[in-house]
Symmetry: C2
Subunit: 367 residues, 2 copies
Amino acid sequence: MSGLQNVRRPATLASLAAELGVSRTTVSNAYNRPDQLSAPLRTRVLEAARRLGYPGPDPVARSLRTRKAGAVGLLLTEALSYAFRDPAATGFLEGLALACEAAGQGLLLVPVSPEHVDVTAVLQAGVDGFIVYSVREDDPHFLAVLERPVPTVVCDQPHGVEGVDRVGVDDRAGMLCLARHLTGLGHRRIGVLCMRLGAGRYDGPADQERQLGATYPVQRDRLAGLRDGLAEVGVDWAGVPVIERFLHSVDAAESAAAELLTAHPDVSAIVCTSDILALGALRYATERGLSVPEDLTVTGFDGVPEAARADLTTVRQPLLEKGRVAGEMLLERGERDRPRRVTLPTELVVGGTSAEPRAAQRFFSGW
Amino acid sequence: MSGLQNVRRPATLASLAAELGVSRTTVSNAYNRPDQLSAPLRTRVLEAARRLGYPGPDPVARSLRTRKAGAVGLLLTEALSYAFRDPAATGFLEGLALACEAAGQGLLLVPVSPEHVDVTAVLQAGVDGFIVYSVREDDPHFLAVLERPVPTVVCDQPHGVEGVDRVGVDDRAGMLCLARHLTGLGHRRIGVLCMRLGAGRYDGPADQERQLGATYPVQRDRLAGLRDGLAEVGVDWAGVPVIERFLHSVDAAESAAAELLTAHPDVSAIVCTSDILALGALRYATERGLSVPEDLTVTGFDGVPEAARADLTTVRQPLLEKGRVAGEMLLERGERDRPRRVTLPTELVVGGTSAEPRAAQRFFSGW
DNA sequence: TCGCTGAACCGTAACGGTTCAGATACGCGC
DNA sequence: GCGCGTATCTGAACCGTTACGGTTCAGCGA
């Protein structure tokens, strides 16, 4: 806990009213409804306010009475600072911020302790609604959000929560499209790097059981899309190595790529479930002296600016747009009879990191 | 305004107490001080809460009573989305977020309308303190923040506001150091790109009067540091062209570089008051077919990650650290007798974008 | 049996506003 | 002179909670 605490207000609406010998209503009106009192009196009120150091109506008290806080809460699974570090999150948040701005709403980043679970921050947030960005299905903070009697919009994951709007993309279809691009090039020996699949800290190979038990639907879907695409050309998913990393960073991905290629040196393409992971794979390839795409194809997912700079083959999703839509769904006035589900389009971006595999590897499928 | 409004709470602490035939205090204690009532009664309360759909104590009402909101407000001059777009801001915010997280405080991004001035959002923010990031001296939102009876910490600018803590770097000294690097290399014909110097939208050359009247102390100081450094080798500041841009973007900087080099083709070095501006200058050089640093030296300021990737000569400041210190200053418990001023160190980073000017240009000073 | 103690629980008074249904006075048309 | 609309201001209820200073009562030692 912090030592921060509001100083006692030097003057209140009531004390100001008493000083002037008018009612509290009048003082309130001086601030909120100038047309409800004569101009001279209003001036007198405002002048007295300045003289007594009255800073205007207290926002919290006003919120209590009006039942609106003027802010939207944002819940992330990761540490708060992640919001400013991950480019996919940043893009989303930029769009969300645009929507909030347009509606004059604040955006409250709710602190979640990465260490031990503590949902008090969620329960304490003075907000009119929540945006939940890509959290685990059974995230306790998320469950706490659902307890709160305010509207909620989920971005990406979890899926299909009752009474909650959602915006996202078709991860499975996007990945399927990418998979076809790769199989079309002739790739059959494929390795995968993916983000965390479950609550606990785990780094290493993710077998099928772990994949199916994943509590992150986005990862589940992206893997499923790839599996679908490979099945179309007869590649058995059981033989496809998947390496999981708990941390979503270039460094972590680099080590994952090392782990993958060490155990499976014959892989011709590394499919990553995010661009960040792909950037790590690229770095490992450079480190190891492998040429991309001649020796190795690398693909990502998301379409962040860094990926464009690296000319990465990836599946682009409209990150900023997703944020803006999320905000608008939450802030939109009017009745919403049923939870809305918005799916934004994805687009395959073929960059310079994917090409046909070497002749020796092509159409090989003898794992 | 948004249509978002809290649904009426299905049950309140009072109704729950009435239902159970206990006092409101007891219900409150069931949530906040479990040791103040017997375990069985607490269970009974919590059970009834679930049954009646009572979502736990209302955060706003609690805030009113306890006089703490559990959140810190953040004020930016720019549109809210800027926070996620500018890498220097992002670095700062990441550090700030770390500090907030550690203290369990939320971070409320206060929406400021870029179009017409409207300070209601500042007055409406339910926060225990404000962080003000790099705003103009006479920014009306900032003045509104000062009206609020909560502690405030300013980052970078404005300077020397009474009763307000500040964290920043010595911009003047940092730039002086950079200037000496350039003059040491032999540069005498120098052109400058700087960020906006005043409130109104203006793009173009900034004469000395405009420089001196700048309401952005950071820009003022950086220019002054350069002036000092040039004065040391006898270069008259009056002859140094300074091009100003209202928008802080690579695109804007590119056009500024064009403007500068068109009017002053004999410039051997472009000094930019930010890395973003420098990246724009680099892009213009590439576009125009100029080699950096052979044909042209380009320098930045800040030390953002993008600058490192571009191997830019710049002055690095500890962005993340600055954010964390700002947060800690605000959240720190204990009396603060007088406003604190923290100045963090800067460091000259010599990259590959600065070198000796061509022989023909060296030591020339005959403008 | 008495006095004392500590645990458990309660009543009241804020916290600082907003809101709505009046009250008052005033000007105006008839 | 009277009814009536209008502009201006007031009174009181209400928002939902927690802080504070009690009261009650079972248990215990003497």
